[in-house]
């Protein structure tokens, strides 16, 4: 399958990319790592007139320590994030989720920012970014603005990024010393999750002091399991206590029904995966 014809632009700075986006507007599509966009173009589900490739903009790559946060450049490949020691130390939940994203070849090309901007509700990075309270730095013709994770994911494949804007980096608040687990339930090894749970937990002397939990594919956007988070605080990190809290995992969710499972099945799955993820993250 071959994509429809398009013009190709490969800017080397964010400013050039923004100018190109401003000029072509609706007719243009941003190409990050291309691991979701190219299949879409090949199947002709989308046929932009102009493709703007961010792959030559070096300033969008890399991971740095910035005080109370680590900052991940939007064009940093998944495989770089996966093996980065800063991410492993301060945002282990992201390391764990990236490790299970697609397969090796896709992780060599796909990018952290590209996947988040694509906002597939079954994507593996939304739930951990939401749980960790990530901040999304978005640049437009008027300068940069920062959007909190709670406001970033708007709907199915829709984010707070405007049509004349580009996601440049993601700031992840440090969660040093927190346990983390990404429980992903799939039918086929490298596929999107039917449901997945991103859990990160701070345990003090066998008691859960804080818990943050994100849900993948339980609605049109990633969701926080806030009822479970509250119920876990002050509880012992034991099977019984976590099981009781996890019973609320599907509260307020609206999961899809499809060939992989009915909504009711997904709601049950969420309670099971939250229990497993929290117990694993607690080291229990």
């Amino acid at each position: 399958m071959i994509p429809a014809q398009f013009d190709y632009l490969a800017p080397t700075t964010v400013e050039e990319a923004l100018a190109a986006l401003g000029q072509h507007g609706d007719d243009a599509k941003i190409l990050a790592g291309g691991q979701s966009l190219l299949p879409v173009l090949r199947m002709r589900l989308n046929a932009p007139e102009v493709v703007i490739d961010l792959g030559r903009i070096e300033s969008l790559r890399g991971i740095r320590d910035d005080g109370d946060a680590i900052v991940i450049g939007a064009m940093t490949q998944h495989s770089v994030v996966e093996h980065d020691p800063l991410v492993a130390e301060h945002a282990a939940l992201i390391s764990k989720a990236v490790e299970h994203l697609a397969d090796h070849q896709i992780r060599h090309r796909g990018t952290f920012g590209g996947a988040l901007a694509h906002a597939d509700p079954a994507g593996d990075l939304g739930a951990p970014a939401l749980a960790l309270g990530a901040q999304f730095v978005i640049q437009g013709p008027g300068g940069s603005r920062t959007v909190a994770a709670d406001d970033f994911f708007v709907d199915l494949f829709e984010t707070a990024i405007g049509e004349d804007e580009i996601l440049t980096e993601v700031r992840v608040p440090k969660h040093t010393g927190w346990g983390a687990c990404y429980e992903k339930f799939v039918r086929v090894a490298h596929q999107w999750p039917i449901v997945a749970v991103a859990a990160t937990v701070r345990v003090e002397g066998g008691t859960i002091a804080e818990a943050k939990i994100g849900l993948t594919n339980m609605g049109s956007t990633p969701l926080r399991a806030r009822a479970v988070e509250s119920a876990l605080v002050g509880q012992p990190a034991t099977e019984d206590a976590v099981r009781a809290a996890a019973a609320q995992a599907a509260d307020g969710t609206n999961p899809p029904s499809d060939l992989n499972g009915e909504a009711a099945y997904r709601k049950h799955l969420a309670t099971v995966l939250v229990r497993r993820a929290v117990l694993n993250a607690s080291g229990a």
């Binding site: 071959i2 691991q35 190219l38 090949r42 697609a102 397969d103 090796h104 070849q105 090309r109 490298h190």
Partner: protein
């Protein structure tokens, strides 16, 4: 048309291509390197795996223009001076192929795997090849082939 200059299997090549041309099409149709095959055309099966700047990618999921200025190695570039790469020898030795269609991608991904992890466990090999499908389901001998190559120092 867009002008691209890249290195493929050690040779410098330069061509005018349509931006929509996939890297796998460029390799097969422009350069005649049909050793790299198109399997599923949906980026699932991994049969089209090549190395781009030394790391494995699915060449049906990369545009030829994205490879401009970069270095590509295909299955046809693995043998040196007429001698098969150790991974190729091991696939032959351990019967790591049945119909052979997935083999170019399996070998390219296995070479990438051993580069990062010269002595993988069986589990690590299976996880490392999760992006490559063999519809003959010949996975057992594929895993044995990678183990054989590792034992022979196949990371080189």
């Amino acid at each position: 048309m867009t002008r691209i200059n890249l290195t493929v299997d050690g040779s410098n090549v330069s061509d005018d291509v349509e931006p929509r041309m996939l890297l796998v099409q460029y390799l097969r149709e422009k350069l005649g390197k049909t050793g790299t095959v198109i399997g599923c055309d949906t980026s699932n099966c991994g049969a089209c795996t090549v190395h781009l700047d030394g790391v494995s990618v699915k060449s049906c999921n990369v545009l030829a223009v994205q490879a401009d200025g970069h270095e590509v190695t295909t299955i046809e570039g693995l043998a040196q001076d007429g001698e098969l790469h150790q991974m190729q020898k091991s696939f032959r030795e351990c019967h790591g192929l049945q119909c052979g269609f997935c083999t170019p991608g399996m070998i390219m991904q296995s070479v990438d795997l051993l580069k990062n992890n010269p002595h993988p466990s069986e589990e690590e090999i299976r996880v490392g090849l999760e992006g490559n499908l063999c519809r003959c389901t010949g996975y057992h001998n594929i895993v044995k082939s990678v183990q054989h190559a590792a034992a022979q120092g196949g990371a080189q």
